[in-house]
């Protein structure tokens, strides 16, 4: 499974890196119902036309502030939510492109072996009534991959691979701490040998010193098993440390996507610039004045007109409040959704 093969991608061009997942114009609108008849009076556009693609073996970061739709995007990709619109194409090693968004529940169930998810909250993500054997082994049991002694061996192997002793197999999750629970969650995600894992804020609930342990583990497992990650986080330093490519989201849309270093060095969108500027730097000698955004993130049920960022943008002009800028490529692999991406010269942090 770990073998990396070069594949001809669907466009016909041969690439040394193949696309594993391609998301096109993904939308997830939650209806707002009101009144006695539960009439739909509007939609929360949690995800509103998101497109990106992830290369095999990459860690693709999705970053943004709370309510920007990054977690919803992750859950749509996993089909834990049924998206309103858009395409999610997964390039399977054997079966070629698969349209995840239109799979029937039974087909999806089979396909779930390839992609797994780990969650943010180490306490809510493990069922307190089950032992580690049952938790980590559940995907194997459901998909009838292993049972009995074989199951035990496999669970032991999985626990060992995330740095936990197999002796813990018969214990319940309440004996474990946040960091250990995230390891258990990772072991469960690895159980079916997936090639793609959605890591939804995997370290944001952890203490500083434990965070480093889990980040290292995520990295090590990627190398070992040839995993591809969709890495969702709000902490820019963690994103910078872990990801190869980054997409920045704002109110349900991607405003900028680029290779990590490039994005941190040369942001093209004013929001990215502000986000980067706001990162507290753990060095008192490098204090500097920051870009302070006015106001708050808009409510995704009632977003502003035009470019969603224009009310807070220091560079906004008239057109920004009228037209919504498309996501355009301005440099190889570097796209932004800003009318003035070319004109502005924004400052990065590297």
């Amino acid at each position: 499974m770990a073998q990396k093969e070069n594949k001809t991608n669907p466009n016909g061009s041969v690439d040394s890196r193949t696309t594993l997942l391609e998301v096109t114009d993904l939308k997830m609108h939650f209806p707002i119902r009101k009144g006695f008849l539960r009439r739909v009076v509007g939609h929360v556009k949690a995800v509103d036309g998101v497109s990106f693609s992830i290369q095999k073996g990459d860690t693709f970061g999705l970053v943004g502030e709370s309510g920007c739709g990054k977690t919803t995007t992750g859950r749509c990709v996993m089909r834990l939510l049924d998206p309103t619109d858009g395409q999610i194409v997964y390039y399977d090693r054997e079966e070629g492109p698969i349209h995840i968004e239109s799979l029937e529940p039974t087909e999806m169930r089979v396909f779930r072996r390839d992609m797994q998810i780990m969650f943010q909250d180490p306490y809510a993500s493990l069922n307190p009534r089950l032992t580690l054997r049952q938790i980590v082994g559940e995907p194997l049991i459901i998909n009838k991959v292993a049972s009995g002694k074989e199951l035990d061996d496999r669970v032991a192997e999985l626990l060992r691979s995330v740095g936990l002793s197999p002796e813990y197999m018969n214990r319940y999750p309440h004996a474990f701490s946040g960091g250990q629970r995230q390891r258990i969650g990772l072991a469960r995600a690895l159980a079916l040998n997936p090639e793609f894992i959605v890591a939804d804020e995997p370290v944001s609930a952890l203490d500083v010193s434990v965070q480093a342990q889990v980040l290292n583990l995520i990295k090590d497992l990627q190398e070992e098993f040839g995993l591809t990650y969709l890495f969702i986080a709000h902490n820019m330093s963690v994103i910078k440390h872990s990801c190869d490519h980054v997409a920045v989201m704002y109110v349900g849309r991607i405003v900028e996507v680029a290779e990590t270093k490039e994005l941190f060095r040369n942001p093209l969108h004013p929001y990215t610039e502000a986000l980067l500027s706001a990162i507290p730097n753990p060095d008192p000698r490098q204090r500097k004045s920051r870009i302070i955004l006015e106001g708050d993130v808009p409510n995704p049920a009632r977003p502003p007109s035009g470019c969603y960022f224009h009310p807070r943008c220091a560079y906004a002009k008239e057109i920004c409040s009228q037209e919504s800028p498309p996501l355009q490529e301005y440099a190889p692999g570097h796209s932004a959704a800003c009318h003035f991406a070319k004109e502005l010269s924004l400052t990065g942090v590297l």
Partner: protein, 355 residues
């Protein structure tokens, strides 16, 4: 240091215990630090190190089952006539007494971690703001309202008169934290305790709040105790730093020294374990092994020794380190700097060589 005219708050050997149905939890096991007038002290540490309990002790608002069993918190209020500062022993004041309540909210104010829940949902912002003002200042209702609206304007809230009449649920998280700051500052306190004030906020909102706090601090010259687990925020905000581990301050020093010449192994390890923007992508981070133990099972000797990369077996697990003053006002609780003990240590020579 206690005699220092510039000290506003001095905490000495503070022990705080919580008496639960199944035993005593020693949350603070001898905390020492001091806050200087007009300076920002950052208290940093991981969960369970006792930083929030310390704040509660200073406010004299421990929960019912908690008690400061030993030690002293001395508060030196605004300079009175004759430049003679009178000392107030906070630990000696009854928590619900008049004297303590005259200090609380008036001279020492506090803001909390969760802006969403720190305002009472059934009263308007204005009425909660007025509560503090009319309690501590001898003003009419009209004057009080003017002060209140002023305070809201000071924290850069748009349309302060409208916010005055708003209910908390009508405001965003960032706006609520601004209101909390306005309430805290409405009586011009000399000391502000900020308990993780930006942890629950998004990074751009955090930048707004930090910027505001810094500006207000420069304007009013109040002292701030800034409690956080985020080393980036400490570097950003603070003048001095106290690093806490398991109910003790293990290192207190200036912010520059803390980040550029940290002396305690815990401080050093903590700094190494955070991802930095300047790192090459995807390098492995240094980690601290294990985790913070439960306060009910504190390891003997130096509490950090089981996790310490520089531990000296036979020494660190036996002797409890005392505060050792190094140059430049740096204070550290670590046996590595205890010359007397180190001289007796069998591993001393080996260690000296390795250095």
């Amino acid at each position: 240091m206690a005699d220092n005219q510039n000290t506003i708050l001095q905490v000495e050997n503070l022990h705080t215990h919580f008496f639960t149905e199944s035993g005593v939890i020693r949350a603070l096991r001898g905390v020492d630090f001091s806050v200087e007038r007009g300076k920002v002290l950052g208290i940093v540490g991981e969960s369970g190190c006792g930083k929030s309990v310390t704040a509660q002790c200073i406010m004299n608002m421990l929960p019912g089952n908690g008690r400061a069993v030993e030690g002293k918190i001395s508060y030196y209020p605004r300079e009175s006539i004759g430049s003679q500062t009178e000392k107030v022993d906070i630990t000696g004041l009854p928590p619900r007494g008049k004297a303590m309540r005259a200090i609380r909210g008036n001279e020492i104010a506090m803001i909390f971690q969760e802006p969403m829940t720190s305002l009472d949902p059934v009263y308007t912002v204005g009425s909660q703001l007025m509560e503090a003002i009319t309690l501590h200042q001898n003003v009419t209702k009209q004057q009080g309202k003017e002060i209140a609206v002023d305070a809201l304007a000071k924290v850069n809230l748009p349309e302060p008169a409208r916010i005055f009449d708003a209910y908390p649920h009508q405001l965003s998280g960032g706006q609520r934290q601004r209101v909390m700051i306005a309430i805290a500052l409405s009586c011009n306190p000399t000391l502000l305790i900020a308990d993780e004030p930006t942890t629950a906020l998004d990074v751009t909102t955090q930048a707004q709040i930090l910027d505001l706090m810094r500006a207000l601090q420069e304007e009013t010259h109040m002292s701030i105790i800034f409690i956080t687990h985020d080393l980036g925020v400490v570097a950003e905000m603070c003048d001095d730093v106290a690093v806490m581990y398991l109910g003790k301050v293990v290192e207190q020093t200036t912010v520059d020294a803390a980040f550029h010449s940290p002396q305690h192994p815990y401080t050093r390890a903590l700094l190494r374990s955070i991802p930095r923007l300047t790192d090459e992508n995807q390098t492995r981070l240094d980690v601290i092994k294990g985790r913070v133990p439960d306060p009910s099972v504190v390891p003997p000797g130096c509490a950090f020794h089981p996790r310490c990369p520089e531990v000296i077996p036979g020494l660190c697990d036996v002797h409890t380190p005392e505060v050792i003053k190094l140059g430049g006002g740096q204070e550290v609780r670590c046996l590595l700097y205890d010359d007397k003990l180190m001289a007796q240590s069998p591993t001393r020579t080996a260690l000296a060589e390795s250095r």
